[in-house]
Subunit: 394 residues, 2 copies
């Protein structure tokens, strides 16, 4: 069975027909050529109504196991520190039925309905839930009925070395198919940056998985840990498989020091993911891109025990990232949409994630004149295809 | 003719019936009491379906004359400086038919459909358009068919003293009914902070209007102009009628210096409006509120020659303000909605703008469990009443 998505404007260009076969984009033809298979019973036709077509959005930093989305309102009650929030979450998640497949499906359904078709999700791995969360997220994605892309980061939210047993859990997660081992503020949480990082890179090296480390630590303490990560990436040859998440420190450094870190990331093959925070030092987005360091965009947690914010709309988040970086020109606005879609293929293990032949048929239609308008307006999604399969829009 | 808005939850409280008479809230009764006038032919009934009711949103800093909303996309092309953008706008607005009633109606329609029912709008007054923009905005509001509240700030976007003739225009605007004279960076644009401010306060004092000054200047230069404004407010006795717009400088000061300015604002009766910018120093929101300094929230320009951003949704803007100020607890989230509604009455010349008897019947219904959820989700507006008159929602 083929699908012909007729009369859409890929990336705001001229109207085209997109043929989808086996979940993959098989051809993109100018709309002027009449479809030869009109009426073909083996082809499903979708009228794209001249809408703008974008690739599915890529959520490069999600926490799909944590949310209370779809449940009655949960008032925030934790202490306003990272350690306080970690403790608060571990104390109360059980009461909310977190993690569970139902919870994760509720959140995922809302996210896919907004056009996100690929996720890199950190999933809590700790002495309380063990590896259960990973299976929960896998099962939830499986329950969606569309071939959403998923990479799993086994995430030691409660710490690594400070919680004996967690390293073994991470090792087991990697052995059992997690795509990355995670980490968390090796200095400020575990109090042993070298110890945590050595241990994580050892697992990654032995198991052939990636590393994706939450790094909230600021200033020179954060910068030092960037350096440790860069050194270990070079030493293990894990180029292209190591990511710093948040990495606020780089926004606080003087330009010359910042540039040196960026050079180090480029040389070692270390990427960075941001959640476009509005209360953090400004990420040097232009310099990172100029150096060719991949930058991914993610939602972070959404309505969880860390805080009540978030609707999961990656396009709206791309608007915020563009605003944060001072983008106003059309090419800058378009680049922000690229960052959240085609440029993020590597964050979800794909060679290509775009409106091109051979890419998975992850396609979002929306009513916008052009890509810049799609970015600033973030209009409702009119159609979402995941691997050529339609998912109901919000 | 009365209206009975049945079965709504004012501020998320118990279900109630709101009776509206002559455009004003006449009573709010618990839903348990059966309406005695059911079937009364002189009463119009609206089924509120148990939705959450909020007061209409107050846009305390708009530029209703500037937008190209509703027109084909306009690529941004100005130089990235305030002076560059001023020149760019003056050069190209004519081509876009700005200002015009049609343009302003297109924008206003979208804003009211999202539940904004009261505006304080700066309107460009300069040697090019003279006072035409003010009439354009008045006519546009008049064309909406609902009693939207409007205060006009005669805004010298192109400068005051540096453009001989503009002071006369501002004086005439005040004589002809503008509610406030505006100003713009007395130091960095006009190069004469004392001169500009003396001239503006002279007009305000003579004409009995307010003062609302755009102050982008940062650091000590901005702080100095805060002081000049405070001194002149005290001298003229214009307490409660003077506002600093943006006022980024206060966010850059050390806490003690910041607190001294806030004390000065409180003593003199100077308010501040913010557009919740994500790239500016953080406004000391808690300290301003603790001191009783009124804080208003506005959209700033939307899709204009200054930049392409903005959808005008005040509720979503309140979400951003809450995030900027680190709000997570329910009371903090609710306070952000209050700031954008009931607490902003004074910015649009109202004694009361709330879901209380005697207030104008500006009421917005939306589907949310409670006020905090309304803030973080900013769901679609289900009903918008302006002075008891329904306006079609987006």
């Amino acid at each position: 069975m083929q699908t012909l998505l007729e009369n859409v404007r890929p990336w705001g260009g001229p109207a085209a027909d997109i043929r989808i076969s086996d979940g993959v984009i098989a051809s993109i033809a100018p709309r002027t050529s009449d479809s030869a298979v009109a009426g073909d019973p083996a082809t499903r036709f979708i009228d794209g109504q001249g809408l703008l077509a974008l690739p599915g959005f890529v959520n490069a930093h999600a926490h799909l196991d944590k949310s209370w989305w779809g449940k009655p309102w949960v008032s925030y009650g934790g202490e306003a520190t990272t350690l306080g929030r970690i403790a608060h979450e571990r104390e109360h998640r059980g009461e909310l039925g977190i993690p569970s497949v139902d919870s994760a499906v509720a959140l995922l359904g809302a996210l896919v309905a907004q056009g996100t078709t690929a996720f890199r999700s950190h999933v809590d791995v700790d002495l309380g839930v063990g590896l259960d969360g990973i299976q929960v997220v896998r099962d939830a994605v499986g329950a969606l009925g569309v071939p959403v892309a998923l990479e799993i980061v086994a995430f030691p939210q409660d710490g690594v070395l400070r919680r004996p047993g967690v390293l073994d859990l991470l090792d087991r997660a990697a052995a059992e198919g997690a795509d990355h081992v995670g980490g968390l503020d090796p200095a400020s949480i575990d109090r042993d940056p070298v110890g945590q990082l050595d241990a994580l890179f050892d697992i990654a090296d032995r198991r052939g998985v990636g590393v994706d480390i939450h790094l909230h630590d600021g200033g020179e303490l954060g910068a030092f840990q960037y350096e440790l990560i860069i050194e270990r990436t070079l030493a293990t040859g894990l180029a292209g498989r190591v990511n710093v998440a948040h990495g606020f420190a780089i926004g606080e450094l003087a330009p010359a020091r910042q540039q040196k870190l960026i050079e180090g990331m480029r040389e070692a093959g270390v990427s960075i993911t941001t959640v476009a925070p509005i209360n953090a030092p400004r990420l040097p987005l232009d310099a990172l891109r100029a150096a060719g360091v991949p930058v991914g965009l993610g939602t972070d947690g959404i309505r969880d025990l860390w805080g009540p914010y978030g609707d999961g709309d990656l396009l709206r988040l791309a608007t915020r990232l563009a605003q944060l970086s001072g983008a106003r020109r059309d090419d800058e606005l378009t680049a922000a949409v690229r960052l959240a879609t085609s440029d993020a293929a590597g964050f979800v293990g794909r060679a290509s994630h775009d409106l091109v032949v051979g890419s998975p048929a992850d396609i979002v239609l929306l009513d916008a004149e052009n890509v810049p308008e799609a970015l600033v307006a973030a209009p409702p999604r009119r159609l979402v295809l995941v691997g050529g399969v339609e998912f109901p829009v919000a």
